[in-house]
Symmetry: C2
Subunit: 339 residues, 2 copies
């Protein structure tokens, strides 16, 4: 079985964006009332909306996608805690409906109702709701709810600890994933996403978060940002700073996905990062949608790169399935036993 750990619901029916647009319009014009509910969507509309993902799964030979709301649309910097909660619940509920319609193809991960002024407000409650009531198996945690101004404390700050306690209690991991950027310096998918990945890794390297939470698990997406390419730099920084060796530091706690869209990048990733710390992911349908003229295949068809990488069959099995079952253990309640 092949599990894709990184897919967002980027193809939701347009009614979802219309709801969001009304939310934003009400923010700008206080005489307008906030929308109460999303327009009703039929199951057929939802089935239709995920045909691209189902086709890619079939064409590429992947089985199930860990599925979360569209990351760039989380936009935690818009509005307040109430707006963020309302938007998050609608997005999570819609992902839940898709997972219920296609239980073999999608497993849910939730967006959190973060907000810059109170990044943890409502997050614990929404995580509990999504895990206990909707059967979700993890969450996406935004290290920068301000959308490119980086006003929240580092992820290793005690500020975040109450949320981590709940993650540990529920035995769910977080993918560290920013959203849209409202800072004109940062293109979202071309800079902000990768910067956040790099930033989070260095925060983890500097502090003792995983001593405090030995079972806390974080996935750094987009192949770990700049980290594997600069693995020597990080090994050297850890050494200069008298921190543990990187492989010890990340062993049971930090994982990278394979959202790196060319063969040399994946080759580097599997060469320097231990096989136990890599999870197969594609981010489809997502950041890059075109076909690579050099290969004739979609840039984000990362399964091809993993298939061609110089790793053992046992390691490939870890990447494609085994590691994800360990990092997101609740998936085992929803899927048949390992193939």
């Amino acid at each position: 079985m092949v599990i894709d750990c990184h897919g967002h619901y980027t193809t939701a029916p347009k009614e979802l964006q219309a709801f969001r647009d009304s939310q934003i319009a009400a923010l700008k014009d206080p005489t307008t009332s906030r929308p109460k509910a999303l327009a009703s969507l039929t199951d057929d509309q939802l089935r239709e909306s995920v045909q691209p993902q189902l086709k890619f799964q079939n064409d590429r030979g992947t089985d199930v996608t860990i599925f979360s709301p569209r990351a760039s649309a989380m936009a935690h910097h818009i509005g307040d805690a109430e707006i963020s909660l309302d938007w998050s619940r609608h997005c999570n509920d819609l992902v839940h409906r898709v997972c219920t319609l296609f239980p073999k193809n999608f497993v849910g991960v939730c967006q959190l109702p973060q907000t810059p002024s109170a990044p943890l407000a409502n997050c614990i409650d929404e995580l509990e709701r999504c895990v206990n009531e909707l059967g979700f198996i993890g969450c996406n945690l935004n290290p920068d709810p301000s959308g490119g101004h980086w006003t929240a404390p580092p992820l290793t700050d005690r500020f975040w600890y109450p949320f981590y306690e709940k993650m540990v209690e529920l035995d769910v991991p977080a993918m560290v994933h920013v959203s849209a950027s409202c800072n004109s310096n940062f293109h979202a998918t071309g800079a902000h996403y990768l910067n956040a990945d790099t930033t989070a890794f260095m925060q983890f390297l500097q502090a003792d978060l995983f001593t405090d939470f030995p079972t806390l698990r974080m996935i750094i997406p987009h192949g770990g940002g700049a980290v594997p390419y600069h693995w020597g730099r990080y090994r050297g920084l850890a050494q200069d700073m008298k921190r543990p060796p990187l492989t010890d530091l990340i062993r049971n706690n930090v994982f990278f996905d394979t959202c790196v869209y060319h063969q040399p990048g994946i080759d580097l990733l599997v060469k320097v990062v231990p096989a136990d710390n890599i999870l197969f992911g594609s981010e489809m349908v997502g950041a890059v949608r075109g076909i690579d003229p050099q290969t004739g295949h979609y840039y984000d068809d990362t399964k091809r790169y993993v298939d061609s990488a110089a790793i053992s069959g046992a390691d490939r099995q870890k990447l494609l399935e085994g590691n994800t079952r360990k990092v997101y253990p609740r998936i085992n309640r929803l899927l048949p036993a390992a193939s």
Copy 2:
């Protein structure tokens, strides 16, 4: 001849930091007067201070280092335009003295007196002074003088154009290099530096800066941040955004150095980035100072990685010397003709 395009004066005599400390103390306590001048330093003190660099040049088989003030100490976010100018002039003058003492070993590049409230104030004057009076061949341009808050406009904004006009007139390039971070999210050398590299590249990809300035040249240090590792992502983003292919976009304008501290990283860099767009650099004595236990050699001994990389002799010659002579043409006035 081997030219290292990326070296900072990280080993300056302690009197330089004492001057800076007095500047900062005067900022905090307005009853204290700002220091007027650096304590006098003898030529012998300066000669002594660069012995580590001279030893590394000798041990590693490099000849000359393009030398600039310590990047993390630029700290443009501290104080105002006057403080920044005073600090920059002192740092540049000291680099000039080292270059004068060892004209075969060091060629100068200047720090700019940027400041968050007016990032270009005094920069044109100081660039002219350093190039025309001190014989410097380029500058380090900080895309984020705020030190991690990213409040300046993107590098492609017309705001920066007057400075670019002067760069073009003087025929000098800029290395895009941030300084210390005062945002607790970003470790300087482990996150802020690499994020800035990634950010700058994406800014260049999005805009028509090099159509407006066909001869403007920018070096993105630290191997280009996350960019080469994600070369497929950037090729795909350029394609989706109907931008030119990356190789066309960067051809005469954007260059990466080789400050990547392990063999797999350098192997990736030379595989995906055209040989014409890579300049040898080590950042010694700099971000990572230890010896890699896996190799028994210094992490930042990047010449070893370049020597071992699977590239042709002609391409290696471009990386080690030829490209740098093209990108920093004023170096040809100071060094013997190409070997």
